[in-house]
Subunit: 261 residues, 4 copies
């Protein structure tokens, strides 16, 4: 595997779908929101993305089977004219933060794929780490084009004005690279302390997304989902810490090529 | 050398061989088991894999000759109809944990190679680090397909249920990438404290593999082999620690391009 | 996006333009100088460079819109025969210092681009970190060819004689790679403590550049620009520190593939 | 520049030349020996190797001109039938130890180049770090083929028997990759404390090389050369430490994509 691949199980006919992203990040906010949306809508999986830029490991499932780390595409076909069709991406992982190049490669592949189904609009979801929360978590918005700020001005979104702030990973790159391809999009980040799997922030973000989409989403299972996810993720995280730690062994002395003497 | 290469010394005709992996990892469990299996069966080396993703060094042998780090393929042709032909891979090294991309590239090349000989089934061996051992080391199993759990249910394997656990490196990727190619496989990890070359864990794993293969493997030399290996490996490890340590020099002050200020 | 791309908005006809570089580095000296020169001359943007070697993030602007990190090309057409046409590059970022390969790729693309407009001469600007300043910051010069030292001998430039000193990043590579392509150039570094956005050093460098170009540049706004930039950059920097810090989690214990045991 | 390039100034006709390597490493032993050999023989430079895997910087020379970091090829044509023609490589740098892939790429290019001139034999030189020296530094040897150990058995070489020891960087890879191409070679490492530019170890290594080549090399200038080199190298080293240190900033808090939570 020398570049990311998308394995496609079905080629649904979608009508101008919105592409919604929720991958692991701060407080797992985006992933929780995406997983919940998929479950509540009964969205259908139609493709998996695998990448040599993801960690070189498989994850074990409860039934003892293993799979490469992956991102998963789901679609939801609206039953009426009132709502938009959706493509939703979620997954186990993002490319590690040490591999900028890999991030660009993977996000490029995601956009190549959803463009085949006519996607021209993107909503990305995630967490925004704050040192303390005052009341309910706010949802911070940023957009690819000024017109979207106008379009979404009546929703409970705090549009960011922190010049020089950044959005790291797929939530940012999908908008940045998408914009170069003529796509439009909004990034919605829920305020989060970031230390736990943050169901509250996920609810805040998802409820804005639901309003934008004109959908009713029952949030009652979200807390429980958060708890389950937390347990699983804790294991994954420990494993990955252990792996990175191996890269920094203690000093010792030996031969030829001390690098740059 | 811009990608991994396999240098082939012989092209044996094998009948539906099982591909068995034992490369360096926790407690050197997998490598010890593979080396012992090769020795006891009198398996024959038929190919070497070299990779620009392995460390940029040669290893010195007792006779003062040097070789690039490599992985080695052995085959064993069953003398009867009762047993399966085998391809076994062992070696000095795996790709460093900092290079996920390299891991995918190398494992892809391994599978390309063994597929040429008809391999469709994989057994990977390794160690599973535990903080303390209670009694004999258990052998933990995970599989590519549920049907294999059924198939192996009468062997002394503790099938993993630790959702979110991972199998890092070739032992995991061979199953994960193999599965995408329609191959089936099982990963067998022996519990190990992980600090030493762990002959006990290797014995535990290899005895399960022997049962699966219906082979009698004499384990009496395994302890001695472990001791020899330990001495050699200690040197390799010190060397590699020294090399990684060079990547983190002390602060100093100088010119242009402080990165991202 | 698998390699750096330049998106071109206009193809001005330029006459033997000088290519001037000022990208983020020590004390932001080069970037400040380039931004100021662009503003004072009213230079016009005609292209953006995007790269998969830049950080995998978008930056937020005051109006809540986001963009990939980028480098920007401006041109200035001289209104008379007395002055040279200019191409000026500035931007949000350089390739991270961990990715030498990316630096070479991006700088190669820059040179490919400006060569299309006939550029054969380069001036790079930046900061030179010193532990303390004695009086006004000096401007240190180094050149691709000895003849340039002669040519610029009457300007207030302290030509470097610190054999083995280095110029890291685009300010150095543009000269080094440019030289291999038959281009000529000078690097001008202003002494700086390096801890702040250093308007004083930028003024020193830009005033030498203005003398070389025979231009009058009003420096009065430079201090204010420095202050604004400082605020924005502080945020960017914190973000990036946070991201790099994630690469070094605390120890933990787990499975297979401890790297190089 | 997307891969290493060799810029060739002359294409000498050489007769079965020996390829001798001395690049920066422990105690700068190899580089010192190569530089001295070049000077004493009056060997002629005929090519430079540049690489995008070298550090992204230029080095300043005493005359204020700058150049990319590079490796340099020299040749020496024997005036009689008694001695062998030589190609000698020395240079400012090797690929950083974090980039194994780059090491393989660069060494591959070196061998591609010297093969064009008929080189089939290699001598690599370097330092071997020891905690303390007992008497004069010994010269440790390792070879690609057993027959070379026999061939060189009457020279003052201590053939290594430290199974599992390694030779890192070009000194090792040239032998390892060369061997795969049917070339033969010996690596000679001088014992060194490794902390200083080690003229003593360089003398020890070079005197063995001179004996092998049947050449008289006057060593009297080597100490002085070591002192000069030390001063220059110290600067380079400080610079590089500073650059690597930038990769490890202090913690901070911010947004989306905490890596793997």
């Amino acid at each position: 595997m020398k570049e990311s691949i998308v394995i496609v199980y079905e080629r649904p006919e979608l009508n101008d779908p919105i592409f919604i992203e929720g991958l692991p990040g701060i407080g797992l906010v985006g992933k929780l929101a995406a997983d919940h949306l998929i479950k509540e809508l009964g969205a259908k999986k139609f493709a998996d993305l695998y990448s040599p830029h993801f960690l070189h490991q498989v994850l074990v499932k409860k039934d003892s089977t293993v799979d490469l780390m992956k991102n998963e595409f789901y679609y939801w076909k609206s039953p009426d004219e009132e709502h938009r069709d959706l493509i939703i991406i979620t997954g186990d992982t993002q490319v590690p933060p040490t591999d900028s190049y890999g991030h660009f490669e993977v996000v490029g592949k995601m956009l190549d794929f959803v463009e085949q189904f006519g996607a021209r609009e993107i909503i990305t979801m995630g967490g925004f780490q704050v040192p303390e929360l005052q009341g309910e978590p706010k949802v911070l918005g940023s957009v690819t084009h000024l017109e979207l700020k106008e379009k979404y001005k009546d929703f409970p979104i705090f549009f960011r004005e922190d010049e020089g702030g950044a959005i790291v990973g797929a939530a940012g790159l999908l908008l940045g690279i998408g914009k170069l391809r003529g796509m439009k999009g909004i990034c919605l980040l829920g305020e989060s302390l970031g230390y736990v799997v943050d169901a509250k922030a996920a609810k805040a973000v998802l409820s804005v997304v639901a309003q934008i989409l004109g959908l009713e989403i029952d949030m009652s299972d979200l807390d429980e989902r958060a708890k389950e996810t937390e347990e699983i993720l804790k294991k994954v995280q420990e494993m990955q810490k252990a792996m990175f730690e191996q890269q920094m062994p203690q000093p010792s002395t030996e031969e030829e090529d001390r690098g740059y003497l």
